[in-house]
Amino acid sequence: MALAATADRTEGLLDATFAALADPTRRAIIERLAQGEASVTELAAPFEISQPAISKHLKVLERAGLVSRHRQAQRRMCRLEAAPMAEAERYLEAFRQHWEAAYQRLDALLAELQGERTEGGGGDAGRANGS
C-alpha cells in the first residue's frame, strides 16, 4: 500500500540523517558549513581532535547525504547538502504538529475539568459526550 512503501523509503532517509545529527561535533560541523564551504583543515580547527577524527565524522555526514566533498586545487573542500536536513526537519516538525494538535484538545479538556471543579460540580467530570 502506498503509505507503507513511502514509510519504508523515508525510514532509510531518516536513519542516516538522525545518526549524523546525534553527535555534537557533527552538529557543529553542519552549523559551520551552513555559513559556507570550508576545507577539512578549517573544519578541524575549532576542535581539539585530530584530522583523521574529523574525516571520520565527515564520512558519516557524507553517507547521510548531508555533506559533499570536492577538491579545489590543493584544498579538500566540504559543502553542506541541505535537502536531507530539510527533509528530516520536516518530518520532526510534522511529528511535533501531530502532538500539538492533540495537546491543544487536552488544554480544552483540562480547562473544562477545572471549571467543573471550581463550580463545585461533582459526578463524572469529563464524561465522553456520546462519540
Binding site: M1, A2, L3, T6, A7, T10, E11, L14, D15, F18, A19, L21, A22, R90, Y91, L92, A94, F95, R96, Q97, H98, W99, E100, A101, A102, Y103, Q104, R105, L106, D107, A108, L109, L110, A111, L113, Q114, D124, G126, R127, A128, S131
Partner: protein
C-alpha cells in the same frame, strides 16, 4: 499562560522526547492520560478522527488498546501494557503500533509547580530504524500531513 508549544527532541539515536506544559495540576493531567472517558476526548489529533476503542485495564501488568478511525483515511491501533504506575507523577508503558515491528517503552513524568504541570514523555525504541519510522509514521498516518510535504512525496514516487 501555558507554554502552548510542544517541544520535540531526539535525545539519543533510539529515542524521541515530547515536552509540554499544562495549566492544570498533575492529578488532572494524569487522569486525562489514564481514564478512557477522558483519553478519547483529546488523543485524536486533527478533526475527523475518532477513537472508537479505548480499553484500559489500569494496573501494573494490565493491558490497554486504542483504535483510531477516520471516514476516508486508513485507521490504526495501538496496544500496550502498564509497567510502572506512580500516581500522579510517573507512568511507564510498553506499546506497539499494530502493523509495525517492535515496541516502544514510553516514560511519562509529570512535574507540578504552582498549579502548572510540565509533562515529559520519552519514547524509547528498540532501534534507530524503529524510532525514525515512528517519527515518519506520525506524518504519514494522515493525522499531520501538510501539503508541501505531500507534494514532495508525490513528485518523488
Amino acid at each position: 499562560m501555558a507554554n502552548a508549544t510542544v517541544e520535540v527532541t531526539t535525545p539519543s539515536e533510539t529515542s524521541v522526547a515530547v515536552t509540554r506544559v499544562f495549566e492544570a495540576p498533575a492529578q488532572l493531567v494524569w487522569d486525562a492520560h489514564t481514564k478512557p472517558e477522558l483519553i478519547r476526548r483529546w488523543m485524536t489529533g486533527y478533526e475527523g478522527w475518532d477513537m472508537p476503542v479505548c480499553d484500559v485495564d489500569f494496573r501494573v501488568g494490565g493491558a490497554y488498546r486504542y483504535e483510531w478511525s477516520h471516514p476516508t483515511e486508513q485507521g490504526f491501533a495501538a496496544t500496550g501494557s502498564f509497567e510502572e504506575i506512580e500516581e500522579p507523577s510517573r507512568l511507564v508503558t510498553v506499546e506497539r503500533m499494530e502493523g509495525f515491528e517492535g515496541e516502544a517503552r514510553n516514560v511519562m513524568t509529570l512535574d507540578e509547580h504552582d498549579g502548572r504541570t510540565t509533562m515529559t514523555l520519552v519514547m524509547y525504541f528498540g532501534s534507530q530504524e524503529a524510532r525514525d519510522g515512528a517519527i515518519a509514521t506520525g506524518m504519514t498516518d494522515g493525522m499531520s500531513y501538510s501539503y508541501d510535504v505531500l507534494d514532495d512525496l508525490l513528485a518523488s514516487l
